[in-house]
Symmetry: C2
Subunit: 334 residues, 2 copies
């Protein structure tokens, strides 16, 4: 491409758009499944139940320590398939690009998409680009849709959760939310915290076929607390969290204390919350702790027969109700 | 929902977002396949080759005579599957909603998605919403990804196009582009033109299994001229269009003449361009003309062995080269 910045003509269907797609997107995302001259991709699916998941990404800033909106839009959608027990196979990609965006910056983000896709073993098989006028759109928004396959032996679901089940988390919570917040440099704070954004496939594959594993979810928008609320809503059980057992990194804790946030409500992008019976819980923790992404895995609570609510037991033995998230000081975190 | 306008809290993963999804999106898009509490939808696919297509929508204004961004985001993606010879089965939906958007307006657009999906026989099986700050996003952008099935008997592709094949179009071109342009009321022009936005499935199903039908495409962004350029690029054949034979409605012609546009470059959202051999061409036209969406179907050109380019023969017998679209005066048309 000769141009240095994206223009509205890159969205018009003509020569500029063809060059953008051929010379930038297709070059970075080359795969046997991607034919930019066809209206629909034809794909071959392995055996198993077909799964679909979709997610939009509007993170600001577009790049942050540990990732960018490109890697995030691959991992985010693949992780949704992973926690549902499946293996992602392919992705489609939508880009809403703001007029004036430097072509070199867009190219870096698309390269990051290509790299994350290849790490996760998925192909980008179809895509679409739109250009919106300068001032709308904030750089770029991406949306990805993933197709996955759930192996026959995997049967996970919130309906399988029972009283007495344990709540497990694969690592510290709140890293992504805090890291993106710091990267905005609005608060005059700095830190060397990295986002946890990553594929959770190794974590989910390791445990998804254990009979006592009931359910998995990645605590993204709304954080760990929101996953607990979703489980409480669906099961009508009481979720009792063991406060001191929940892993939170020291810099996350400090930043949250300074700014008045609760890390339990901040997004993670590479963690898994699993619900398992008491027997399987030990196995899950042992399996996770052998993996690079699960070293700090912890048992952080259990499901009880009390009033349906989410409570957290504090260090001093007190109990505090964790309300459902209402207002949010952190838009555009993922 | 109690709120009258979308707030950033509707995108945070908490209570407001849950209510937005449960009370607005899920209520309008209810289907057996849509479970808003799961990370990934499990779908059952009929036999045949699986197809995938994706499209983003940024049209301005959000509503126009004959449709809105809601109906457009269903038809647009289903039509891409239809022209590739498939039957759309299900869709995923991404919404990027601008803070401050009236909830009632969003609800109308989502209702329109539901109606268009049910007309096309597809289910919305997964979705995601993001809220972006006021000033970004221009109301709402949608992205849809469609899964379709191509029956075993259908073999379409640009590689099947041969010298001597005919170019056919199912109806007048440029209606959608002109209609949206008029709906912006920037030019002080008015008219009773309606967008052609509609499902093209009846048109594609009628002809896709005829042996002499080589290829189909819907002339959206970049219009009929851009489809001809794509065919020329892929086949290295000369595309010779018969100018007077190309159906263009009178109001489209007048508006284009006044504003200096060429209707051949304006988007259609309910038309099909088909390439067929001479024998099948007659059959296609006869079949299309029996359908409500194909009454004005016409033979508009043919593929020749001359220099690879797109030329148009004028009424007076002259020949004019139709250049590839470069700059575009009409952003955000679909």
């Amino acid at each position: 491409m000769q141009e240095q910045h994206i223009t509205l003509a890159h969205g018009n269907g003509g020569r500029f758009m063809r060059e953008l797609i051929e010379q930038l997107f297709a070059r970075q995302l080359a795969s046997p499944g991607l034919d930019t001259s066809s209206d629909a991709a034809t794909i071959q699916l392995p055996d198993g139940r077909v799964m679909l998941s979709t997610d939009g990404f509007t993170v600001k800033p577009l790049r942050f320590p540990g990732g960018d909106i490109g890697s995030l839009c691959v991992h985010g959608t693949c992780n949704d398939i992973a926690v549902a027990g499946g293996d992602p196979v392919c992705l489609t990609l939508n880009a809403f690009i703001e007029e004036g965006m430097p072509v070199a910056e867009l190219e870096q983000l698309v390269a990051s998409i290509g790299l994350a896709a290849s790490e996760s073993g998925v192909q980008i098989v179809a895509g679409d680009t739109k250009v919106v006028p300068h001032g709308e759109g904030s750089g770029v928004y991406f949306a990805t849709t993933g197709i996955g396959i759930r192996p026959a032996g995997v049967t996970l679901g919130m309906d399988r959760i029972r009283e007495g089940d344990q709540v497990l988390v694969s690592g510290p919570v709140g890293d992504h939310g805090t890291c993106v917040m710091l990267a905005r440099e609005e608060f005059g704070l700095r830190g060397d915290l990295r986002s946890d954004a990553a594929s959770v496939l190794p974590l989910t594959r390791a445990i998804r076929e254990l009979p006592g594993v009931r359910f998995m979810r990645d605590p993204t928008r709304g954080g760990l607390a929101t996953v607990c609320h979703e489980i409480m809503h669906a099961t009508h059980l009481e979720v009792v969290l063991d406060g001191p057992a929940i892993p939170v990194r020291e810099p996350v804790q400090s930043v949250c204390e300074m700014l008045g946030y609760d890390p339990l409500f901040l997004a993670c992008e590479g963690r898994v919350v699993a619900i398992a019976d008491a027997h399987a819980a030990d196995e899950v923790l042992a399996l996770w702790r052998e993996l690079p992404g699960g070293i700090d895995a912890a048992r952080i609570g259990q499901l009880g027969a009390g009033t349906p609510r989410v409570v957290i037991e504090t260090e001093l033995g007190g109990r505090r109700i964790l309300e459902e998230l209402q207002d949010d000081p952190l838009p555009r975190i993922c």
